[in-house]
């Protein structure tokens, strides 16, 4: 018999309907996978009983190895053992050169600006490398839970921009994981901490990971976690503390800073060990070539203080954005391995004038928070006592005349968020338009980060200036941007082609997906038809369920007739046709005919939920 977990009252799953979900902390240095089992959120162990999976991927002659063995290989085989790949996600070649001294890889330009890493198994995109880590975590999750996963909540630094988030989602797709939500790491930590302590009030989360720094200010009110503001630096982390030590060693040893990849790896490993040791002892011996010396804690503090100050500045800015005074902060929580460094704890404590909380394991707290949310999103637990209201970390805007950035959605706006802007054409008969979207706070586009270029096509030809094109920018709950456009006079929806500035093109992803599939020899057309058939069946079932529940109450006779007709049409095409295009058209038609019905159902459902809650409150 399958092994069982203890369910919430009334929530025992029917056989074959267990919904297994996990939370994944995909970190720069270390990754974890956690799940809620029998009411407790906990990290899942591997076969050796370890919860941490080092974020290292080693491309060997014939296979790929992920984890401790890969990390160990990093010194002798630095070009093929990839560590800290998170630093490369959503980045371009020019960004890499800035980080170059820490990352001794061979880079190759890919199709769409994304740099590929040259390995013995060919050129690999950072997305593919991350997918290997995710595959390993997924396998562990499925083995530990005893079945297929319905999905995972994957955490990202709060300060990750759209390109970095999309890259993470792409990696999950390659690993065959259904992403239930991309969750910001500080928010995940707040969930683990908040539910544990049943906390209320204002909480600051200070998250210093291997390669990223985030600070979030949240207000907790009866299970609602509202992010007031978030800030940070997506290129500043514990790795930089190691680098500071490494530079010091080279200076002391009067050695050249031109190191081979192997030498770099080795020196950084030594620096990391020294940093960790100095949390316990007051001095460590270090050596490089013929040189040997002693690094004291005082010296270490001098080296890292400028970096720590950068994090404190981000904290002050987040407090200002949140419009919260230091005195109003009820607790500050430390997250990430590097927060074990005594100087970091001391400095944060001094800024917030209180002792930072460190009792939840800073390495596990993010995965645990993600697991809790995954449990809710998978439907194993009511979401009544947990609502996460997060924000967009960077302003979104457009390039306008003269190389200026015009903000459309401001940073720290609660998501989901949508804003519309109207444009018009400047040439007679113009049918296309280009919009350049960027993220950042500066006025000039060269100081902001290019996100993507959106090509609007299919604008009905009109005299110059007559067209009214409403472009809607929508940021979803994952923090990802979606753009739609409509010409208002004619009602025509423009078709949008997205060209991401630092992302994989649709072709690249398709190629990677087919490469990773075992039976890549399957006939393309047969597969396309099968996919359309699944889609058609799914839609038919959903519509029929909806009609049975609300058809009488929410539809007029005429509307019901139209829907029934569209259903009949789809059923016919589904039974008779072998053409994916024909089937797709019938699916599209039924979707359009039921759009209004779906909207009415949603609104009715929302009203019922609100009424139910009000009733509950009266009863209390």
């Amino acid at each position: 018999m399958a092994l069982l977990q203890i369910a919430e009252p009334g929530q025992s799953p029917k056989p074959h309907e267990r919904r297994l979900a996990v939370g994944i902390d995909l970190g720069t240095t270390n990754s974890l996978v956690a799940s809620v089992r029998s009411g407790v959120a906990e990290p899942l162990k591997d076969a050796q009983g370890e919860v941490i999976l080092p974020s290292a991927v080693h491309y060997r002659e014939a296979d790929v190895v992920v984890g401790r063995a890969a990390k160990a290989a990093a010194i002798e085989d630095p070009l093929n053992a990839i560590v800290s790949v998170k630093r490369l996600m959503g980045r371009g070649l020019s960004d890499i050169h800035q980080l170059g001294e820490q990352l001794p890889y061979a880079f190759v330009q890919g199709d769409s600006q994304m740099p590929y890493l040259q390995t013995r198994q060919g050129a690999k995109s950072p997305v593919e490398v991350s997918a290997e880590i995710l595959k390993s975590l997924r396998a562990r999750g499925e083995a530990a839970l005893g079945g297929d996963l319905v999905g995972a909540v994957i955490t990202v630094p709060a300060y990750f921009d759209d390109a970095q988030r999309q890259a993470t989602k792409d990696a999950a797709r390659l690993a065959g994981i259904n992403v239930l939500r991309l969750l910001n790491e500080p928010t995940a930590a707040a969930v683990a901490y908040g539910l544990d302590k049943q906390a209320e009030g204002v909480v600051a989360i200070y998250d210093l990971g291997g390669g990223t720094f985030d600070v979030s200010i949240l207000r907790l009110t009866r299970g609602v976690f509202e992010v007031l503001a978030t800030g940070g630096d997506s290129a500043l982390g514990g790795d930089d503390l190691d680098l500071a030590i490494a530079h010091w060693v080279l200076a002391q040893a009067q050695a050249s800073t031109d190191l081979t990849p192997s030498q770099q790896r080795e020196l950084l490993a030594q620096a990391c060990a020294a940093k960790e040791a100095l949390s316990q002892v007051s001095s460590v011996t270090m050596s490089y070539g013929a040189w040997q010396g002693v690094l004291t804690r005082e010296q270490f503090v001098e080296l890292i203080d400028p970096l720590v100050e950068r994090t404190l500045k981000a904290c002050r800015r987040a407090l200002r954005d949140a419009q919260v005074e230091i005195e109003e902060v009820d607790a500050v929580v430390m997250v990430g391995g590097s927060t074990r460094v005594p100087r970091v704890r001391e400095s944060v404590g001094r800024l917030f004038a209180r002792e930072p909380m460190t009792d939840i394991d800073p390495d596990q707290v993010v995965a645990i928070g993600a697991a809790i949310q995954a449990d809710v999103l998978a439907g194993n637990r009511s979401g009544d006592d947990l609502l996460l209201l997060d924000v967009i970390p960077l302003s979104l805007g457009l390039e306008t005349m003269g190389g200026l950035m015009e903000k459309v959605i401001n940073r720290n706006t609660t998501i989901p968020s949508a804003r519309a802007q109207e444009f018009t054409t400047y040439k007679d008969g113009q049918t296309a338009m280009l919009i350049h979207v960027l993220q950042g706070e500066r006025e000039l586009i060269k100081d902001c980060r290019s996100l993507a270029r959106f090509e609007l096509r299919g604008i009905p030809p009109m005299p110059a200036g007559a067209a009214k094109i409403r472009v809607t920018f929508q940021v979803d709950a994952d923090g990802l941007l979606n753009v739609t456009a409509q010409e208002l006079n004619s009602g025509v929806e423009a078709s949008i082609q997205v060209k991401p500035s630092y992302g994989l093109s649709d072709d690249e992803i398709a190629r990677m997906l087919t490469e990773s599939m075992q039976h890549a020899g399957a006939d393309k057309d047969a597969r396309a038809l099968a996919e359309e058939q699944v889609e058609a069946d799914r839609l038919l079932e959903a519509v029929q369920v909806a009609l049975a529940a609300d058809g009488l109450a929410l539809l007029s006779e005429g509307e019901r007739r139209d829907i029934d007709e569209a259903i009949a049409k789809l059923i016919t095409v589904r039974g008779a046709s072998q053409s994916p295009a024909e089937l797709s058209a019938a699916v599209k038609y039924l979707t359009e005919v039921t759009d209004e019905f779906a909207a009415r159902r949603m609104d009715a459902g929302i009203r019922a939920a609100l009424a139910g809650r009000n009733l509950q409150e009266i009863e209390e």
Binding site: M1, A2, L3, L4, Q5, I6, A7, E8, P9, G10, Q11, S12, K14, P15, H16, R37, S38, G39, V40, A41, L44, K45, D46, A47, R140, A143, A144, L145, G146, Q198
Partner: protein
């Protein structure tokens, strides 16, 4: 009539109750399913209902409703590990057959 737990099971139940922060104990029972007859119910109990029978093993309470008791009398709840997977297992002397997938049974 009795339903018992092994010490390992009791320990894990207690751990879950502590981690969850609330609960009087666990409910153990059966219900009918389409597949092959019956499936086990294993849930937390937050509110005590009068009609349940209560058993205690190693200090932890097990609640069973009257209808289910007939089918699980003499059952022992255990906690085991199978590779990386771990969870609760019912050792039920009344069980006659199980469905192929291992998720339901008949008595």
């Amino acid at each position: 009539m009795a339903v018992t737990m092994t010490e390992a099971a009791a320990k894990h139940v207690q751990r879950s109750l502590d981690g969850r922060g609330k609960g009087e104990g666990i409910r153990v029972g059966v219900r009918t399913t389409g597949c092959s007859g019956m499936a086990y119910v294993l849930e937390f109990v937050d509110e005590v209902v009068g009609e349940d029978q209560v058993f205690e093993s190693f200090g932890t309470k097990v609640f069973v409703d009257a209808k289910s008791l007939v089918y699980i009398d003499g059952t022992e709840l255990d906690f085991v590990k199978e590779g990386l997977n771990e969870g609760f297992k019912f050792n039920n002397p009344n069980v006659r057959g199980e469905c192929g997938c291992g998720e339901s049974f008949n008595v």
